[in-house]
């Protein structure tokens, strides 16, 4: 039995990493063991965070639907359940006034301990002191560190921390070594300040609980991989993150990890890109929704490595064969990763471009089904009638997942600094282009023609044996996955 993975995603970049983990889980690249996740962000309306939670929700619904079927069919697609502890904000107990000065009860300190208040004045400018922090720490680790350091061990007994720590404790039973991975950027505000603080707190908590040696603690640090310019006249709403500071922040953070926190983590993954992708400027909330980037795919692969490998005192490096281009061969464990991503993409593509539309077209005549649907739907069976609410719901859920998965893949390809050569993503919105979907498809043209013709795939669906007992939309999707596998 493999170990359980717990992921603590800190800030917007951390959430984007988990969006990638969700998509790779759908592709069956983790284990059957569940992944548990907690998002940490003071900006509860962060666009990237919302998108990651939406993707997660879509995946969870689909995975729940598929879970029984997957065990029967023995397929890795959607095999990993993901449990979410949702979002925790350091301002959870302070819903109204989220100024830094209010968080530190500056006015009281000023009366009770003027010298301490003066020290506070030295550390933070008047603008920083009165800045509302519900849009995050605005790229200022100094603000974030102050807020995050207020979290204490007692808070770790409350929900959601209490629940996740209890789960980690339970996962250490039977000689297992649960993995706890903290991920986020170290060049902005929230991740840079949150990762070391939370890692130290967790490490101390595990020591206190006597499970530190059983738990493997990992850090996934994102180095600068995007930047932005502040447009003239932009509503910066006071202080804001500045891309010019990213390298400086990174240097300081790395120095901190080397000198102060090197013993905290059992494994550290550092990920970055030489050319930074241009994103739109945003101070936070809904507008801070940057397009998924291939670095996050690497982050999800790092999480996979952390879960599946047991590396001891090893320094592993992964780099691309040539700059500016990203091929399948550039991915660690490329053959397995390619198979997982490709098979899930082929299923999602076929479902959206053909199956879903046909099922919709024949929905009103469930007694007159084309032969390829008959192994899955039966007009005489109230449970498996195509027009039954439960069946329509299954179709809707599978369609949502397919759209979300292809959306993420498409976004990963739309990188302005590097050419990502995994899929011909322009084909995602066309019909009957299955054979042209994958770049560097290793199959010979003959088997391509045979395997990729939709009529032939439907023939395979029609010949589905009744003993396979795959019924309804879930059975159809599973059969489709098995018949499009390459």
């Amino acid at each position: 039995m493999s170990s359980k993975l717990f992921v603590i995603c800190i800030g917007g970049s951390g959430a984007k990493c988990f969006e990638a983990i969700t998509q790779l889980a759908a592709a069956g690249l983790y284990s059957e063991q569940s992944i548990e996740v907690l998002f940490v962000d003071p900006d509860e309306a962060n666009g990237s965070m919302e998108r990651a939670r939406r993707s997660l929700n879509t995946y969870q619904q689909c995975q729940k639907l598929m879970s029984g079927e997957q065990r029967q069919a023995n397929v890795s697609w959607m095999q990993t359940p993901i449990k979410s502890y949702d979002l925790w904000s350091p301002f959870a107990d302070q819903p109204f006034n989220r100024e830094l000065s209010s968080f530190f009860q500056y006015n009281s300190i000023k009366n009770d301990s003027p010298s301490l208040a003066n020290f506070f004045d030295v550390l933070y400018s008047p603008e920083e002191r009165v800045q509302q922090l519900d849009e995050g720490f605005r790229g200022r680790p100094s603000i974030g560190a102050a807020v995050m350091s207020q979290i204490n061990l007692n808070q770790l007994d409350k929900a959601p921390w209490g629940s996740i720590i209890q789960e980690i404790k339970n996962a250490t039973g039977g000689g297992n070594n649960p993995r706890v991975l903290l991920c986020g950027s170290i060049f902005g505000g929230t991740g840079a300040s949150g990762i070391p603080t939370i890692a130290r707190l967790l490490s101390n908590k595990f020591e206190k609980e006597g499970i530190r040696k059983s738990v493997r603690l990992g850090g996934l640090f994102l180095l600068p991989y995007f930047s932005f310019t502040v447009p003239p006249g932009a509503n910066t709403n006071g202080i804001y993150a500045s891309a010019d500071q990213f390298l400086l922040n990174t240097e300081a953070a790395l120095r901190y990890y080397v000198t102060q926190a090197s013993s905290l983590f059992d494994t550290v993954y550092l990920l970055g890109n030489e050319d930074t992708a241009k994103v739109d400027f945003s101070v936070g909330k809904k507008t801070q929704s940057n397009r998924p980037h291939f670095i996050e795919l690497y982050a999800a692969l790092a999480a996979r490595d952390f879960l599946l490998q047991d590396r001891q005192d090893a320094l592993m490096l992964v780099a691309r064969a040539s700059g500016g281009v990203l091929n399948w061969d550039d991915l660690p464990d490329g053959a397995v990763v390619r198979r997982g991503l490709v098979n899930a993409a082929r299923t999602a593509y076929l479902w959206l471009s053909d199956i879903q539309g046909e099922l919709e077209a024949i929905r009103t005549s469930p007694g007159n089904l084309p032969p390829w649907t008959k192994p899955f739907y039966d007009a005489k069976d109230p449970v498996f009638r195509l027009d039954a609410d439960s069946q329509q719901n299954e179709i809707k859920i599978i369609s949502s997942w397919s759209a979300d998965y292809l959306r993420w893949l498409r976004d990963v390809h739309q990188c302005d600094t590097d050419q990502v050569r995994f899929f011909n993503h322009q084909m995602f919105s066309t019909k009957e282009k299955l054979s042209e979907l994958v770049i560097d498809d290793p199959r010979d043209p003959k088997s391509k023609q045979r395997q990729d013709g939709i009529p032939w795939i439907k023939e395979e669906l029609r010949r589905q044996k009744s003993t396979d007992n795959r019924r309804g939309g879930v059975g159809l999707a599973t059969s489709l996955y098995l018949n499009t596998n390459i």
Binding site: D354, G357, E358, A361, I362, P370, P371, W372, E432, G453, I454, P455, W456, I457, K458, E459, R462
Partner: protein
């Protein structure tokens, strides 16, 4: 293979049965005078009129049925739109034996074959018998042997659980 063994067997059995129907049973109806021909000698009409005409109908029907089955084996319909056009194609293909039967019926008349071998009296019975033959050789064959996802496209195929 899309086409099953049972379908291949049916594809041989129905033409053989059609062959017996058209070249043994139906001529016997004329020879035994169950269908009486008053304007021609049956013994002369059968080899010079009926058999060539029946061969034409048989050939057209078998050609259309085989073409349909081979086409759907080599290129099964996938999308709904293809299924719809394939349905229309079945009807278009059915024109081959129908036109063959019309041609054979015209060919049987005295105006074409002359007084010695032609028969105007046989026209009505030939229309009925050739229609039956087309139903058997084209419709029944395609309705029971069409392979794969086209199996339900011939009209009435569902009567046979297709």
């Amino acid at each position: 293979m899309i086409i099953t063994t049972v379908e291949i067997i049916r594809l041989f059995v129905f033409p053989i049965m059609g062959l017996l129907l058209m070249f043994v049973l139906q001529p016997a109806l004329y020879q035994s005078q169950i269908i009486r021909l008053t304007d021609v000698t049956v013994e002369k009409w059968l080899p010079n009129g009926y058999y060539p005409q029946a061969s034409l109908v048989f050939g057209c029907a078998i050609f259309a049925a085989l073409a349909w089955c081979v086409w759907n084996t080599m290129s099964p319909p996938g999308a709904m739109s293809v299924r719809k056009s394939r349905s229309i194609a079945w009807w278009i293909l059915s024109l081959v034996p129908i036109l063959g039967a019309v041609g054979a019926t015209i060919w049987s008349r005295k105006a074409v074959l002359g007084d010695k071998f032609g028969s105007d009296v046989a026209t009505l019975s030939l229309v009925a018998l050739f229609s039956l033959d087309i139903l058997f050789l084209y419709w029944l064959t395609t309705a029971t042997t069409t392979p794969g996802n086209a199996r339900d496209l011939p009209p009435g195929a569902r009567l046979f659980g297709r």
